[in-house]
């Protein structure tokens, strides 16, 4: 005997296109136009899951996004996707679905033994047992509970599908394409406004798809819309969240089109849509009735039975009971009767609405109990007619809840409307409009008129004043919507479920109330009500009704929980879009990058930059290569890419005055053609950055910053010029991308330079330390600076970026007889440690000039940024942690950046007296050295201390020394 079967005709399905799919490995077939849920129902598969806590048998409840029970794991392997409601899944050929939360099968579920232990799973059980006095017990139990009670499991494999993001803009967004939404889109579209009509379903029409009498109206409206080029219609496109300034994030699903990632076709697209005005035509969701065992398979929402009957042409069995507390279930009863089903309509209200011929109606009666475990078999009534009826399906309607999630996302609290026993939007922003069921307008004719009006208003709000709101509507008046909600039964036989997915019963609410968890937000967290993947779409109002009954208050006084995005589940991939893998964040490349890549460079990330870590000529691993590269610079000559340095063009009559203000040391009198090392502070007196700035002319400077702070310094200089010192006639422009830079360093660097630029006088006289020469070389403007980061005789060659590879190759070629080679970042950074130059690791926005040993640079006479707050008492304290050098005293052991420093006699505990910032092997001293900050700094020179790295259980002795390990007098760089 079948409980459900497909009619030979009718419905929005294409019987010519048969579709095969599997459930738990077994093959079934349905039709194009089916959802997974409708196809299963047509195949009479009604038991499709086990509940979360009690493992009770469950079937379909709904035909839409509100589905709490019929969750499936779809796909296999890396495409496994858990917890997807079958009601929203387009049936496509080869679809693989698996039921969840049952082992070994839904029919025979070992975990159903949980039902015997049901008292354990009452609300609050988790809290009391696992969060209680026994510390750590949750950690112990959690894995077991998750395994027994979890939903579907996600795969750990990389998702092979493609997801994209898209930006869109429109004048009027209409959310929902039911009667009201279609009307709104048409009337807004007539104004000429750009309209985006978003519908989460595969078809446009919403509730109309279950109204056969409205089909011609629907078709006519769709034709009208299709004729408007300014209206874009999107199906399978769910508005997930509403954010500030009318940003709506929608997710469009394209599984039905079989997207091929290798061809760039996305499976889902996350759309960030900016709308000037929005019409919410999001409809309403039906509520179940609350009675004992109301979760049995075969008990479905009346709207769902109607949708399956009319949209999917699926007839339920031979006998149906329709139980309701309002008028909207009456048409279903009539249609079932017309389809040859014996119908008993049970209405809890004393007076019933008009019924169609062939429908038996019992007033003043409610469902008391049901019989049948795997599927409903009998209904027993209470009230005026205490009879028992056999049935194949029990269709229930507990009234309707407007879908006001989206309208509430910006924080507007919903308002309770007692006349319809439901929450409605609590108000709208100026550019927001509502129409249809979301407003509590349940009549079709009224919804169409309201939609048309909202479309005109929304177009007006978007700046399209003249629009035609005339709308073809339907004849006759809407039936009145009347509802009487009986107080929920909070005790009695059988579990009366409020929230099917989270397995929360009326009794749980009672317990929560008894234990003082009475506010809605507490109720939610104590019972887990509404916390499932369906977010309580069917349960919210029934639970509030139960709590308000217990507290002796009206529902509005109890309030409702906060609605937050997303409205329905979103694939993580759709959120990430293409910002994955190498596109997780932008990558920045030096103009010399292509040369490095072709010449054996290993790269390392430095902020957004990919920099050369070391070159293959020097070794296979960084540990050996950087030492060889350091030796190259200390003994011969090396070439390194420093294009990542921030470079800023500072121009204008007041350029010198400007730099004199931002640097702690003087720049006003810097001669043209000379460079100077400078340090900048923040307003708070802490070091912001350092770098070398060269005076190109009286009114032009070439400023360099560290790689890390380039953006920060640029913004800071712009801030000062544009908001604080508007009287200064200075203009700044970033040249970081315009100019490449390369460091030529080592005792033979002058010889290399002479070979590279034969006509240029680079003698100590022609280009002294901190000097600058500008000349043209083979059509390229060269800015040659004599600077040293390594402490060796060294130069920086700056030139427009496109010429950098040819010049780099030229230098390596002509200086080859000197043994020149390129060197990478690790060697560059290690050479400067030997020299005791501070860099990013020391310039961490916590240290002062004095902490870094640079206090003497601060000008006494002139004001500079940070001068005042630098003198704060604590910043001048004598025992501040300040820069020291460290020498490892235990050969064979290692120092580590981040190691905590302790005096030799200290207990190894707490934050110590300082830490190591930078470590290297010194080729000069042939030992491991480091820079660090230590309490009292160089007052401790000679002291033996402990460098502790407790994570690795390392405790190593080191000696505090001057940080200038190499050439402290600067003889080399002045040579």
């Amino acid at each position: 005997m079948t409980r459900f079967h497909r009619r030979p005709e009718g419905g929005h399905i294409d019987r010519a296109r048969q579709v095969s799919f599997t459930l738990n490995g077994r093959s079934y077939s349905g039709f194009a136009g089916d959802t997974l849920a409708s196809a299963l129902l047509a195949n009479d598969v009604t038991l499709i899951g086990r509940s979360f806590k009690y493992h009770r048998p469950r079937g379909l409840v709904s035909a839409g996004v509100e589905e709490p029970n019929a969750l499936f794991t779809l796909g296999s392997g890396a495409r496994t996707e858990p917890n997807i409601p079958g009601t929203i899944v387009d049936l496509v050929d080869g679809l693989e679905a698996r039921t969840q939360n049952a082992w070994p099968s839904v029919g025979f579920d070992l975990m159903a033994v949980n039902q015997l232990a049901a008292p354990l799973f009452q609300s609050g059980f988790y809290y009391k047992t696992f969060m209680g006095p026994a510390k750590g017990s949750w950690m112990f139990y959690e894995p077991f509970i998750r395994r027994a009670a979890g939903l579907g499991a996600a795969t750990r494999a990389f998702d092979p599908d493609r997801y994209e993001t898209r930006h869109q803009h429109c004048d009027v967004l209409v959310v929902g394409a039911g009667a009201a939404g279609l009307a709104a889109a048409i009337s807004a579209g007539r104004s000429g406004a750009r309209v985006f009509l978003a519908e989460q379903d595969a078809l446009l029409g919403g509730g109309l798809l279950a109204e056969p009498a409205m089909e011609s109206w629907r078709q006519a409206r769709l034709a009208e819309l299709q004729a408007m080029p300014n209206v874009q219609m999107a199906t399978r496109c769910t508005a997930m969240g509403l954010y500030d300034d009318n940003l709506v994030v929608l997710v469009e699903r394209r599984d039905h089109a079989r997207p091929d990632a290798s061809k760039g076709q996305p499976r889902q697209v996350s759309i960030s849509l900016r709308a000037k005005a929005i019409v919410f035509a999001t409809g309403a969701i039906e509520r179940p009735l609350v009675f004992g065992d109301n979760d049995r398979p075969g008990i479905m929402l009346a709207s769902a039975v109607r949708t399956y009957l009319n949209r999917f042409a699926i007839v339920p069995g031979r006998r149906a009971v329709v139980a309701t507390n309002n008028d909207t279930a009456y048409p279903l009863a009539a249609e079932l009767a017309a389809a040859g089903v014996a119908v008993m309509l049970v209405d809890s209200r004393p007076t019933t609405a008009a019924v169609a011929p062939g429908v038996n109606v019992l007033a003043d009666s409610s469902v008391a109990t049901v019989a049948g475990r795997g599927h409903i078999q009998q209904v027993t009534l209470s009230g005026a007619h205490r009879a028992t009826f056999d049935c194949d399906v029990l269709a229930v309607s507990g009234g309707w809840s407007p879908t006001l999630h989206l309208t509430s996302h910006t924080g507007i609290k919903p308002r309770y409307d007692a006349a319809i026993a439901a929450f409605v939007p609590g108000g709208f922003a100026k550019t927001h409009f509502g129409a249809g069921a979301v407003m509590g307008t349940f009549g079709l004719r009224a919804a169409i008129i309201e939609g048309a009006k909202a479309g005109v208003e929304a177009a007006g709000a978007a700046g399209f004043a003249t629009s035609d709101g005339a709308m073809t509507t339907i004849q006759g008046n809407d039936p009145t919507y009347a509802i009487t909600v009986a107080p929920p039964v909070l005790s009695g036989k059988g579990k009366a479920f409020l929230d099917f997915q989270s397995d929360v019963t009326a009794k749980d609410v009672k317990i929560a109330h008894q234990e003082g968890y009475q506010s809605v937000e507490h109720l939610k967290r104590y019972t887990t009500l509404g916390m499932g993947t369906d977010q309580g779409k069917t349960s919210n109002v029934n639970a509030l009704a139960a709590m308000s009954e217990l507290r002796g208050m009206q529902i509005p006084a109890v309030g409702t929980t906060t609605f937050r995005p997303p409205y329905t589940g979103v694939a993580m991939g759709a959120i990430a879009g293409r910002g994955i893998g190498k596109h997780f964040r932008p990558t920045r490349l030096s103009p010399l990058h292509d040369w490095h890549r072709a010449n054996g460079a290993t790269f390392i990330e430095a902020g957004p930059w990919l920099r050369v870590y070391y070159y293959a000529w020097a070794g296979d691993t960084v540990a050996t290569a950087y030492v060889k590269e350091m030796e190259l610079v200390r003994r011969g000559v090396g070439l390194s890419d420093v294009s990542t340095l921030g470079k800023i063009d500072v121009q204008g009559p007041d350029a010198a005055e400007f730099l004199n203000r931002v640097y702690v040391n003087g720049f006003a009198k810097l001669p043209v053609g000379k460079a100077r090392y400078g340090v900048m502070l923040n307003d708070d007196g802490v070091v912001l950055d350092d770098g070398t700035t060269t005076r190109i002319s009286e009114t032009q400077f070439y400023l360099t910053t560290t790689t890390a702070q380039a953006g920060e310094v640029m913004s800071w200089l712009e801030f000062l010029l544009q908001t604080q010192w508007r009287d200064l006639r200075v203009h700044v422009t970033s040249l970081t991308d315009e100019w490449a830079g390369m460091a030529l360093a080592g005792p033979k660097s002058r010889e290399a330079l002479q070979l590279a630029f034969p006509g240029v006088d680079v003698s100590n006289h022609g280009l002294p330390y901190m000097g600058c020469l500008e000349f043209d070389y083979e059509g390229a403007q060269i800015r040659l600076l004599r600077l040293s980061f390594s402490g060796e005789l060294a130069y920086e060659i700056h030139l427009p970026a496109d010429y950098s590879i040819p010049l780099w190759e030229h230098i390596l070629r002509v200086a080859a007889p000197l043994g020149i080679k390129p060197y990478g970042l690790e060697a560059l950074a290690s050479l400067r440690i030997e020299k005791g130059h501070v860099a990013g690791l020391e310039l961490d926005h916590r240290n002062t000039l004095d902490d870094l040993g640079l206090g003497k640079m601060a000008a006494k006479e002139k004001p500079f940024v940070g001068k005042e707050l630098r003198m704060r008492e604590n910043l001048q304290a004598p025992d501040r942690w300040s820069l020291v050098g460290l020498e490892l005293l235990e050969p064979g052991k290692s120092l580590r950046g981040g190691a905590i420093l302790f005096a030799a006699t200290d207990e190894i505990k707490g934050h110590g007296r300082g830490y190591i910032t930078s470590v290297t092997w010194s080729v000069e001293l042939q030992k491991t050295i480091a820079l660090g900050l230590y309490q009292g700094g160089l007052k401790n020179v000679g002291a033996e201390i402990i460098c502790a790295f407790p994570l690795k259980d390392e405790f190593v002795r080191a000696r505090i020394v001057s940080p200038h390990f190499v050439d402290p007098k600067g003889e080399r760089l002045n040579a």
Binding site: D244, D684, E718, R872
Partner: protein, 80 residues
């Protein structure tokens, strides 16, 4: 959130960088004692409602400007 850049027009807030409270006057260069700078740099009101703020259009024209933003609603414009 949308921010009106005085040069480029209205853009998504992700094109901008926030630059702090603009309701207070930074002491003029070379003036002010530690106390004045301390109060400017470290003491802030935390208003619920309109707030004058510095923003820079970093992905656009790089202009700094003062924007009034309602800290409760993110509504932009109007007097602080």
């Amino acid at each position: 959130m949308r921010i009106p850049c005085p040069h480029c027009g209205e853009r998504d807030y992700s094109e901008f960088r926030y630059g702090g409270d603009a309701s207070k006057q930074r002491p003029a260069h070379g003036s002010g004692d530690i106390k004045a700078w301390h109060d400017f740099y470290f003491l802030f009101d935390n208003p619920k409602g309109p707030h004058a703020e510095y923003w820079q259009h970093v992905l656009g024209c790089r202009r700094w400007f003062v924007l009034t933003r309602n800290t409760a609603t993110n509504e932009v414009g109007g007097p602080a």
